[in-house]
Structures are given as structure tokens and as C-alpha cells.
Amino acid sequence: MNDKSLLMLMRHAPYAGARATEALEAALVGAVFDLPTSLLFRDDGVWQLLPNQQADALGIRTHSNLISALPQYDITNLYVCSESLAARHLHQDQLTQGVTLVNPAEQQALIAQHSIVFND
């Protein structure tokens, strides 16, 4: 459909308001439009990648279920900021599978590679 590509920066914690969910919804619509779509999780957004979340207790959608569904929308390029993980004492092993660790220089390159960059 086009030669553009979308990078979504996911910077908010999964249950700190609706920001994370709404950002993910926008990414899904991008993919539905056949826009090659990648997600970069950084800052508190890295918490979105922890598996086994249970938001039923809050009566809201479990964010990690949406994350697991991303491959069904052909969103397979998931990146996570190494420094954001380290600052929160998180390790890649604890995260959902299939996420690529990227350092700040690699993130710079990612942002430069994509024609459209959304912030959440």
C-alpha cells in the first residue's frame, strides 16, 4: 500500500491509566492498514512486557494478552530499551518472548529508519 513504516514508542506502565492500551490500539490499526509496524518499549513502558498479568481484579483488559496477540496482527518487531530494563532491575529473561534488546544508539537508528514515529 505504501513505502512508509511506523514505530510506536511505548513509554507508559500498563495500568497507569489508559495510555498504554490506547497506544497499542493505534499500533494495531497501523498494522491493519498494512503499515509495517514496530514497537519500542522504554521507560516505564517496559512493564508492559511482563507476562502473567492479571487485570481481571481491576475489571479491565489484561494488557499482556494484547501484547501476546501482536503476532496475529503481523507485529513481530518488538524492541526493549536495555537501560530502562536495568534501571528497573528487570532482565530480558523475565519478559515475554521474542523481544529484542536495544541500546540507546540502536534506538536512535530505529527511530531514524522509520518514516512515522508515534509517542504514546
Binding site: 512508509k4 489508559a18 493505534a26 509517542n119
Partner: protein, 132 residues
């Protein structure tokens, strides 16, 4: 150059809609054009016609309406974000049987597809984020 603007917050909890409007004016003054302005997240509240301001404050919604009219710019609200925050046009008010419609007509309620479309047609997409 064609710009699309994405706004994430509005008064009184954020001044993203103010910053966005200043930028939009500069875009036009610079001889560029704006494909679309997309109000997302809490910024959809800008269209709430029930907001009452102190007399010495100027409505940011009204300023956007004037700007959009003068320069033929579309102002869009994300429908999913608007429904979550109780900002409804008449069609949605009737569909969900709510007491009243409150969205101002200058702001059109659209799907997220319009955000993607706006990003594809624009040379630059500028986001005005909100801290909350």
C-alpha cells in the same frame, strides 16, 4: 510540506492543545499545510461542550475551531478514546442510549484509521504529548 498533528492532552490538565495550536499557526505562516489534527488520549476532552471556564480565560476549543475554519483544517477525535471519556456526538449518544450528546460540531469523531491515514499522507507527524 504537509504536517499532521497528534495532540494528547488538553486544559486544564495539560497545555498540549495550546502548544499544538501555536505550532499549527506557525506551520501555516511558514507556507506549509496541515492534513489533519488528531486529538487522542485525554485530548478528546477538548470537544466537550459542557466545559465552563472562568470569564477571564479563553477557550482552547474555540481557538482551534476558529483556526480550523480559517485554514480548512480537519479536527478529529478518536472515537474509542472519546467514548471512554464520555465525549459523545449525537449518533453515539443514541447508539449507547446516554443522557446527552456533548461533543462540539467543529470536532469530528472518527476511527483510528484516520490517524494512520493522516500519518501516511503527511511528510511530518508531530505529537504534542501530555505528562499524565
Amino acid at each position: 510540506m504537509i504536517f499532521s498533528l497528534v495532540i494528547h492532552g488538553t486544559a486544564p490538565t495539560s497545555y498540549a492543545a495550546h502548544s499544538g495550536l501555536n505550532f499549527a499557526r506557525a506551520v501555516i505562516q511558514g507556507g506549509h499545510s496541515i492534513a489533519r489534527v488528531f486529538f487522542y488520549h485525554d485530548a478528546v476532552r477538548i470537544a466537550d461542550g459542557n466545559v465552563v471556564l472562568p470569564q477571564d480565560e479563553v477557550s482552547i476549543a474555540e481557538q482551534w475551531r476558529e483556526f480550523a475554519q480559517a485554514h480548512q483544517v480537519e479536527l478529529n477525535l478518536c472515537i474509542a478514546a472519546a467514548l471512554r471519556r464520555g465525549v459523545l456526538n449525537e449518533a453515539e449518544q443514541q447508539r449507547y442510549q446516554r443522557p446527552s450528546a456533548n461533543s462540539m460540531p467543529a470536532f469530528e469523531v472518527v476511527g483510528l484509521g484516520q490517524l494512520i491515514e493522516a500519518s501516511i499522507v503527511a511528510d511530518r507527524v508531530i505529537t504534542f504529548g501530555a505528562s499524565t
